[in-house]
């Protein structure tokens, strides 16, 4: 058995241990030596086993002990580089319940950035100012939120917020294939922030400002078919600001994760 200790640039608390060969009980001493070399400020260990032919149950037991140590430091010990066919076998023996398994070290590092460092992911979408483009954009944002572990309710609410903001951006801005709407999203495990900017249409500024004027509940009438979008965005978000001062109108929202 061989092991390489790989430091990760800009990640002083994470490390990759790349094992190769056979991890049997005879190698436990070497495994312990490896872990003893790890700095005490490390709290996330990625055990890469792509070149490992076998892992004995006694080694799994040792790794479980080190995992406990990392969890106590606020991190984790995860396994990376296991082929899908082997993963299904590991699942059968219950190993996937003990360790988090990733297909490669990069995926394990992404999980570290998201879960331990609480690192925000940034997404930029630029799309033509047409109503028909809004549904795929809102569904994309909702899917990203779900993929990041947000629940159905939060993802649905986010879909609604994006839909309403983008529909307003199309309706109150210049339209056409050559003009785009810019959507910037920053998502972390606690919140989502969105900025949507269109190209302002001077002829529609009066209607936009009327829309932004505060309304009381009595002003929403049964026979009105439109004009509820902004009220809905206000109710679904924790922060909302609109800036009409530039060549485009920018809407910024913050939504705190609820579930």
């Amino acid at each position: 058995m061989e092991v390489n200790i790989i430091q990760i640039p800009d990640k002083p608390h994470a490390i990759i241990l790349k094992f190769s060969g056979e991890m049997d009980s005879d190698q436990i001493g070497m495994i312990n030596d490896t872990f003893s070399q790890i700095n005490s400020n490390i709290n996330y260990v990625i055990v890469s086993v792509k070149s490992v032919q076998m892992i004995s149950s006694s080694v799994i037991g040792e790794l479980m002990g080190y995992r406990k140590q990392m969890i106590e430091r606020g991190g984790d010990l995860v396994i990376a580089g296991i082929d899908f066919s082997i993963r299904t076998k590991l699942n059968l023996i219950g190993l996937t319940k003990i360790f988090r398994i990733f297909s490669d070290p990069r995926s394990a590092l992404n999980a570290y950035r998201w879960e331990i460092e609480r690192h925000a992911e940034k997404i930029h979408v630029s799309f033509p100012s047409h109503l028909k483009i809004v549904p795929p954009v809102r569904q994309l944002i909702s899917r990203i939120a779900k993929q990041k572990g947000y629940g159905n309710r939060d993802s649905f609410r986010l879909e609604t917020i994006v839909d309403e903001i983008c529909n307003n951006a199309v309706e109150h801005g210049m339209s056409g294939n050559e003009l785009s709407i810019e959507l910037n999203m920053e998502i972390d495990p606690e919140k989502v922030e969105l900025d949507v900017t269109n190209t302002s249409d001077p002829e529609k500024m009066a209607s936009l400002k009327a829309l932004l004027k505060p309304k009381n509940d009595n002003e929403i009438k049964l026979d009105e078919r439109r004009g509820r979008g902004l009220a809905l965005i206000k109710m679904l978000t924790d922060e909302l600001s609109v800036d009409c001062s530039g060549t485009g109108t920018s809407v910024h929202i913050k939504k705190v994760r609820e579930e």
């Binding site: 809004v134 549904p135 609604t160 839909d163 309403e164 529909n167 049964l222 026979d223 439109r226 809905l232």
Partner: protein
């Protein structure tokens, strides 16, 4: 291109001026005009009572909700009604946030909505 929505129509035995309409998928700004035209045609053809089954309606935005309110108003003007049943939790929440639950006739079950026509 419009968002996908399908309207499936059914008659209700013994009720000549009632149409059961299943809404399937998403009701939003891209298809609201098409849906509006279809439902208004039904109302104008004499089906003044519409029972909307929302069991398979995944999504409604504020524009879609505005249209539902319009259907309700138009049906009432014709001495009929626009009743909604089987609404999913997410869609109900949007209607609730807008404050329109008291403006629409909403029932938990389809049978309840149909029974309320008697």
């Amino acid at each position: 291109m419009e968002s996908q929505i399908e309207l499936i129509y059914e008659d209700i035995k013994g009720k000549h001026n009632v149409k059961l309409v299943q809404f399937v998928d998403d009701l939003d700004a891209t298809n609201v005009e098409t849906v509006s035209e279809k439902i208004c045609n039904l109302l104008n053809e004499g089906y003044i009572n519409i029972v909307a089954d929302f069991k398979k309606l995944r999504y409604v935005n504020s524009t879609g909700l505005g249209t539902l309110l319009h259907f309700s108003k138009t049906a009432k003007e014709k001495n009929g009604s626009f009743k909604i049943a089987n609404i999913n939790e997410n869609v109900y929440e949007i209607i609730e946030i807008i404050g329109a639950t008291s403006l629409l006739e909403i029932y938990d079950e389809l049978e309840e909505a149909i029974k309320a026509l008697d």
